[in-house]
C-alpha cells in the first residue's frame, strides 16, 4: 500500500501519472484561500472499475469506467464553497480553486477578500485496513472471468426450476490524494470488489426472484472456492424457498431480526439521526437528547471505520481525519454524534473521522461507516422461543428514514413466521415501518451472535452514495408495524 511514512515530496500516483507536485498543491491552496476562506482541502481521485455480466452461463457484456478529477473545498466559518475539475492541469485547477474561493466568499456574489498563508503539506500515514495480495490493477480479465465461470458452474443445474441466472462481478480501484491548508497530506488506494448472483425460478406458472452478494475492500484472494460455493448455494436456496412462502397477518407484531443485514435497523432508526450535520441545525429527532437513556442496558451501538476489509472501512476519512471506532450508544445511553470537520467545529469537539464523500465531485458530509450492535446475553434460540406470534426477518434491504420525525422503514425480502416460539414457514416481501426512538426503546433481547452482513450496502444521503457495512446480533423488537402483501387481504 502507499501509506508510507515518507514525508518528502513524493506525491505518488498523482505525481507519477498526472504531474501534480507539492508546489502545485501549495499554489492551488493559496488561490483557494485568496478570498477570505479560513480552511481549504484538495481531493484528488482516480477510479478504474470493471463490471462483467454472465447471463445464463454466457459472459456476454461488460462495462468499464475511468473516473478522474479533483475537488477544491473552501470553508469560511460554517459556509462552504465547492468546485471540481476533471482536467488535472494547472490552469483548469487554478480556475477551480478560484471558483470555490468565490463561492465560499459569498455564494458567488462578488466581494473582496484577503489571502491566507498555507502550510506545506506533510504526508501522514493512515491505517492499513485493506492490504491486497492480488490488487485489481494487476489482475487479468481472464482471472475475473474464471471467477464468474466458477460461480456459473455451481449455479447451473442446481435446481430444475431455475429459468434465469444473472451473475455479476464488479471491482474498482481508487487512488486518493488529499491535502489540507493545515498541512495534512494523505494518500490511499481503496479497493472494492463484489460478486452478485441473481436468480429467477418458476414453479407451476409462478415466478420468484432473489439475489445474494458478497462485497469487500479486498483483492482477488478474497473470493475463495468455499465462498463462491456458498454464494451459489444461497442464491438458489433463497430463490426457491420463496415458493414455500405463506402469508402472515399485517399490523403490529414482535419482530426478531436475524444476525447480519438486519443491522439496517440501526442504520435507519438511529445512525442517520446522529450524523451531526442534522443535529447542529437541530433538525434531527435526536438533536437535544445527548446523554439521554434511549434504550435498555443491552443496547450498545458502534459505528466503526476500522474493521479490516469491511465495505465501510476507511484508512482515513475524506477530509484527512483519522479513521476510528465511535460508540454512539453505550448501555442504552446516547453518547456521541458522528462528526465531520464542520460539525465538530460547531460543537467544539473533535471529528469522529466520519467526513466522507462519494467522489471528488462532492464536499464531504458526516456519514456512517460500519454500524453494528455489540452482542448481548441471549442465545438466538431463547429469543425466537420467547415469541408467540411474529416475524423472523432474515434478508433485509431498502432502508429509508425521515430524520426529523424519526420514522423509518426497511424491507424484508425473505424471512420466517414465528408461532409458539418456533420458525414455522417462510415469508417474503414485507415492509416494516416504525419510529426510530420507539423501535430502539422496544429492543428487549439482544443475542450473543453478532455478525456483519456480507453484502455490500450503499448508503445514500443528499445525493451522495458511499459504501457502508452493517451488522447485528439476533435481536428482538417487541413490536413493529409489518406491512402485508396481497395474500393477506
Amino acid at each position: 500500500m502507499q501509506n508510507s511514512a515518507d514525508s518528502t515530496a513524493d506525491h505518488g500516483y498523482f505525481e507519477k501519472y498526472h504531474g501534480v507536485i507539492g508546489r502545485d498543491l501549495a499554489r492551488l491552496m493559496s488561490e483557494a484561500l485568496s478570498r477570505g476562506g479560513d480552511f481549504c482541502d484538495l481531493f484528488f481521485q482516480e477510479i478504474k472499475g470493471i463490471w462483467i455480466v454472465m447471463e445464463d452461463g454466457v459472459v456476454n457484456r461488460a462495462y468499464t469506467v475511468v473516473h478522474l478529477g479533483m475537488g477544491v473545498r473552501v470553508l469560511r466559518g460554517q459556509q462552504s464553497g465547492y468546485a471540481f475539475s476533471q482536467v488535472l492541469e494547472m490552469p483548469a485547477m487554478l480556475e477551480t480553486a478560484r471558483t470555490a474561493a468565490s463561492l465560499a466568499a459569498a455564494g458567488g456574489r462578488d466581494t473582496g477578500g484577503k489571502g491566507l498563508e498555507v502550510r506545506p503539506p506533510k504526508l501522514k500515514p493512515g491505517l492499513d485496513l485493506y492490504p491486497c495480495q492480488s490488487p485489481w490493477a494487476e489482475v487479468a480479465v481472464e482471472e475475473r472471468l474464471k471467477l464468474l465461470r466458477g460461480l456459473g458452474e455451481q449455479v447451473a443445474g442446481a435446481d430444475p426450476r431455475m429459468i434465469k441466472t444473472l451473475l455479476q462481478f464488479h471491482d474498482s480501484w481508487a487512488h486518493i490524494m488529499l491535502a489540507t491548508s493545515e498541512g495534512v497530506l494523505r494518500q490511499d488506494q481503496r479497493p472494492r470488489a463484489s460478486l452478485v448472483a441473481s436468480c429467477v425460478a418458476e414453479e407451476g406458472g409462478r415466478r420468484e426472484s432473489n439475489y445474494v452478494d458478497v462485497t469487500a475492500r479486498s483483492g482477488l484472494e478474497f473470493f475463495s472456492e468455499p465462498m463462491v460455493a456458498d454464494l451459489a448455494r444461497q442464491a438458489v436456496e433463497r430463490t426457491t424457498r420463496l415458493f414455500e412462502a405463506r402469508p402472515v397477518g399485517a399490523g403490529e407484531m414482535p419482530v426478531v431480526l436475524a444476525p447480519g443485514s438486519a443491522g439496517i435497523l440501526l442504520h435507519e432508526a438511529i445512525g442517520h439521526g446522529l450524523e451531526a450535520d442534522f443535529n447542529r441545525r437541530r433538525v434531527s429527532t435526536y438533536a437535544d437528547r445527548m446523554g439521554d437513556r434511549i434504550a435498555n442496558e443491552q443496547v450498545t451501538i458502534v459505528d466503526d471505520g476500522t474493521i479490516p476489509h469491511s465495505h465501510g472501512a476507511i484508512n482515513f476519512d475524506d477530509e484527512g481525519a483519522d479513521s476510528q471506532r465511535t460508540v454512539l450508544v453505550e448501555k442504552g445511553v446516547l453518547k456521541s454524534f458522528l462528526h465531520d470537520r464542520l460539525s465538530a467545529a460547531w460543537y467544539k469537539s473533535a471529528s469522529t473521522g466520519s467526513g466522507r464523500r462519494q467522489s471528488y465531485e462532492y464536499a464531504p458530509l458526516p456519514r456512517m461507516r460500519a454500524t453494528f450492535m455489540e452482542p448481548g446475553p441471549y442465545e438466538p434460540e431463547e429469543i425466537i422461543g420467547s415469541v408467540q406470534k411474529g416475524i423472523y426477518a432474515g434478508q433485509l434491504t431498502n432502508g429509508q428514514v425521515n430524520i426529523g420525525a424519526g420514522d423509518f422503514s426497511f424491507y424484508v425480502k425473505s424471512g420466517w413466521a414465528i408461532e409458539h416460539g418456533k420458525l414455522t414457514h417462510p415469508v417474503k416481501d414485507l415492509n416494516l415501518i416504525g419510529s426510530g426512538p420507539q423501535a430502539l426503546s422496544r429492543i428487549t433481547m439482544v443475542g450473543d451472535d453478532l455478525a456483519l452482513a456480507q453484502g455490500g450496502f450503499m448508503c445514500g444521503k443528499l445525493g451522495q452514495t458511499v459504501p457502508v457495512s452493517q451488522g447485528l446480533p439476533t435481536t428482538l423488537v417487541s413490536s413493529l408495524n409489518v406491512g402485508g402483501t396481497r395474500s393477506q387481504a
Binding site: V59, Y82, T96, T99, L145, V283, Q400, Y411, N431, G484
Partner: protein, 449 residues
Amino acid sequence: MNEELIKTAHQVLELAQKAGSHQAGVKISRSRFIDVSIRDGEPDKASASTRQGLSLRLFIEGRFAVHSTSDLRPQGLAAFVADAAALTKALEPDPYRSLPDPTRYPVGPAPELGLYDPELAQAPAGYWADKAARMEALASKRAKDSGPQVVSVIGGAYGETAFGYLADTSGFQGTLEETGGFAGCSMVYMDQEQENKRRSGWWWEGSRQLGLLGERQTMQRIAGEAVRRGLAEMGAKPGPSGRYGLLVENQAARTLLGHLLGAMSGQSLHNKRSYLSGRLGEPIAAEILTLRDEPFLIGGMASRWFDAEGAASSPLVMIEGGALKRYYLNTYYSRQLGLAPTTASASNIVLKPSHAEDFSAMLAGLERGLAVTGFLGGNFNSTTGDFSLGVKGLWVEGGSVKHAVEGMNLAGNALELWRGLVKVGSDPYPFSATRAPSLLFDGVQLSGA
C-alpha cells in the same frame, strides 16, 4: 468548445474501428451546473463545476461492452480505446447485439423542443446566489408567520446547462442542448403535539426557461406550498388497518408509475423479472388508464428527438383503455424478445384524465381512506407485481382530513391495484418527466394502528 467535443467523439470512433470494432457508438457530454443554498439567513453551501464524460459502445466480432471515462486528454484516448477493445474481445459473442437499423435514425433538422434558453445558460453565479437568498428570505418569513416553532429554513437555487453529442459508425450524428433551472425551499418545524418530533415541508419548481423561474409570484407560491406541506404533517400518526380507498397525490404518484414503467422495460422482460411479460394487448389496468410517451413536449423535462441509441423519437401510446400496447424496447431487447423495437426508455409520460378534478377535489370526494403525499422505503417486486411500501399522508373521512399519517404500510399486487383505478386527475405534476396526475384507487390493503 462543443466543436472540440464533436471532434474528440469522431477520433474515438476512428480509434475504435482501427482496434477492430466493426460497429461502435459514442456519446460525449459536457455540462455546467451551479447549486447554492442559504440556511437561516446565512450562505450554507455553494458548488459549481463543469462535468464531462465520454461513453463508447463497442461491437467487436459479435461481442459487446460499454466503456466510459471522464479523462478526455487526447494523449490518453488511444490507450483508453485499446484497453476497451481488448476487454471486449475477451468476452463471449452475443448475436443479438448491434447498432440500430439505420432506417430508424431521425431525418434532420432537429425539431425546436424549447429545451435551451441562452439567458439561463449565461446567468452568472451571482444570479443563483441572489435567487437562493431571496427564496430563503421569503420562506423564512412565511414559516415564522405560520405559527409553530421553526427549527431551520433553507432556500436554494440550481442551474444547469448541458451539451450532448451522439454518433456511431452507421452514420448517426445528433446533438442535444439543454438548460434547466430550479428554485425551492424547505423548512423544519417542531411538532406542536409530539415531543422531539420535527415536521418538514418542502417545495421545488423548475423550468427550462429562466424567465418562468424568476418571478416573485413564483417564489411566493413555492414558499407558500412548502409551509402548507409542513403544517399538514403536524401530529402525524398511523391510521387504522384494513381495506380503504387510496388517493395518491400527483408528485407521489410518480413512484407508482415508475414501478409500472419499469415492468414495461425490455430489460425486465428479458430478465424474466416482469409481471407484464406476455400481456401485450391484454388489460393490465382499469379502462380509464391511457398512458402516452410524449418525447416532443415543448420544454418537457425528458423531451428529445432521438433516444439513447440514436433511434428517432415519436409519440407512442403505451397503455390504451387499460390495455398494454407496447413495451420499451431498444434494438437488443427487441431482437431478444422477437418484437419490433419501440424506444430505448421512457421520455415524458402523460396520462389522459378521466375526471376534471385535482387532488383537493378528489380528496373531498373520498368517503374513507388514505391520501398519500409521499412514500418511505418499501419495495416493488417487478417479477410478481407484489409491493409493500411505507406511506405518509392524510387520513380522510367524509371528504375531509381527520389527521396526518405516518408509519403506515401499503401492500398489494400491481395488477389488482391498477385494475382498481377509479379516477385519473387533471392535475399533472409539471416539474418532472413523469407528468403524473393525482390517482384514486379502490380498496387497497393498509396496515397501521
